[in-house]
């Protein structure tokens, strides 16, 4: 191959290899700095990924919406409008197959329809943690939920346009990373 072509292709490859992670970072940073913050009540469990390490999967309380009929099929994109309840936690205010004209929304994966409720799963359900802390985090949440005065575990999510970024998971306002280190 011509040296010029090799050089050109090499630069193209290097740029692509920079662009993909760089673009991921810039999109996420934009949502974190410009987006609106919501607190989604949740419950974590801890699995593992061979490349990205340990993480906790978050089961959000916002996972269904009242409806007379099924709105979508499995794996359809579902637009879930987001509002805030009296305690300051996120709640679904409307669901539909098209983007709402006003207000913040997140794009969820549609699941089943049962008992007058259309179920869905929110996409930001993965929170990567230090490998020594992931299991402790799951146990900590189970522990606080058994207490007589149950604590609240929630995901701090920033929403901007059609993107949502999970920034932190907190128990009673303390980051779960620090909470598990408490004596």
């Amino acid at each position: 191959m011509n040296k010029l072509v090799i050089g050109g292709l090499f630069i193209l490859m290097v740029l692509a290899q920079w662009y993909v992670p760089g673009n991921m970072i810039s999109q996420e940073e934009k949502v974190l700095t410009e987006g609106t913050m919501y607190k989604f009540k949740t419950e974590p469990i801890d699995p593992s990924d061979p490349f990205r390490g340990k993480y906790i999967v978050l089961n959000y309380e916002v996972n269904s919406f009242r409806s007379d009929t099924a709105i979508c099929k499995y794996y359809d994109k579902l637009y879930v409008s987001i509002g805030v309840d009296s305690l300051g936690f996120a709640k679904a205010t409307r669901i539909g197959l098209s983007e709402p004209e006003i207000g913040d929304f997140v794009i969820a994966d549609c699941s089943g329809f049962y008992n007058g409720k259309q179920s869905f799963s929110l996409p930001f359900d993965t929170y990567y943690m230090n490998e020594d802390k992931a299991l402790l985090a799951e146990e900590a949440v189970r522990e606080v939920q058994r207490d007589s005065l149950p604590s609240v575990c929630f995901g701090v999510v920033y929403v901007l346009g059609d993107r949502a970024v999970l920034d932190d998971v907190q128990i009673d306002g303390v980051s779960i990373k620090d909470y598990v280190e408490k004596p």
Binding site: G7, L9, W18, Y128, K133
Partner: protein, 426 residues
Amino acid sequence: MNSRIDKDLRELREAHVISDEVSQRITDYYQAKKSGGPRKLFAIFGVLGSLLIGLGIILILAHNWDNFSRFTKTIWAFAPLVIGQLAVGFSLLKNKSRAWKEASATFLYVGIGASISLVSQIYNIPGDMPEFLMTWILLGALLVYLLRSYTAVLLHLIMATVYACNLGYFNEINPWWYLAMIAWIIPFYLRMLREQPEGNATSILNWAIPLSLAITFGAFVSEATNIVFLMYVGLFGLLYNLGKLEVFNSGKLRRNGYAIIGSLGMIYVFMLVTFEFAWAEFNPSEHLTKDIVITVGIFGMACLVLLYLASKKKLLPFNLFQYAFLIFGVIFVAQYWDFQLAVVLSNLLVFGLGIFAIRIGNLRNNFGVLNYGLLIITILVACRFFDTNIDFIVRGLLFVAIGVGFFLANYMMYRKQQKLKSKDHE
């Protein structure tokens, strides 16, 4: 050079068996061979070193150092990528040795994975595994041609296989992009076959490509009906016939992964279809259109390879294994009349292949092929013990008979070889 060879050469020269010139050429040959050795070793250890360091970095980063700030972690995310890019750039610019190129390509390939893993980790990007693997494969694909790196081809193939399995198994999505990933390396592979058909790297790919195809094929199959057997037989028939192409068949059998995987795969599937359940528990009217299209496509390709071999007059001497997929096609159709007929014919086919392998082994004086044939018949008989009500005495006698057959066939082959040797001496 080896002092033993040196000593032998001196002895041969003194005995006037070889001339001084021939002796010098032999010495030169061994010298050249010897000097190639360490370079090859250096390349292998370079690749292994890069792979281990790269994978180690991924694991260290996967620990998730949450006491570092997001910015520090982001710098770490790019570090392996930049080091890999610099090493590859240096290899290209200075046109460094093969060892350099292979090692730097390996490190960059793993560095790409480390980088996107860590960014996903820092920002809790949930993207599923196939999507992640696809990004990784695409970003590393150019390395194959830029550095003409064998390791990059192998890594690309491994990653593509993992991607297809991840996406296609246990759900209904077909990993069609896998085919594009394979197509991407074909020009490079063809060039390797042309330039160094006996090379070690080519031999590794001669095994890796059919293995990858055999592993991922299930990701395209719905497994709803017994057409799955026909599909797999088509694939293994295609691989076997590819293995009979001049480029693969003229070398050593151990370098011909196509023929070996094709043959073993066919025998495995044929063994399964000798059982009644393979035919009785499926409703042949429930075949999916997609499965039928894939079957027709793969049988079409296998027939094209057969026609090509025929045009090159490479179909002689007759080899039953090459046509076994077509015969099975007829057996598959026979199930529409009576599935018992299909069971009987399948048993006959396996028996015929076993006998045929014994015959080939005998003609070629090859113990390996002879015993392969005997093994096929032994497994067939053993399988029949599970679903037939034959008396224990008869079963026992059958096993004894096969054992005696094993012994006799090998003994006769041994005698034949001894005779040939003594004839050669005369």
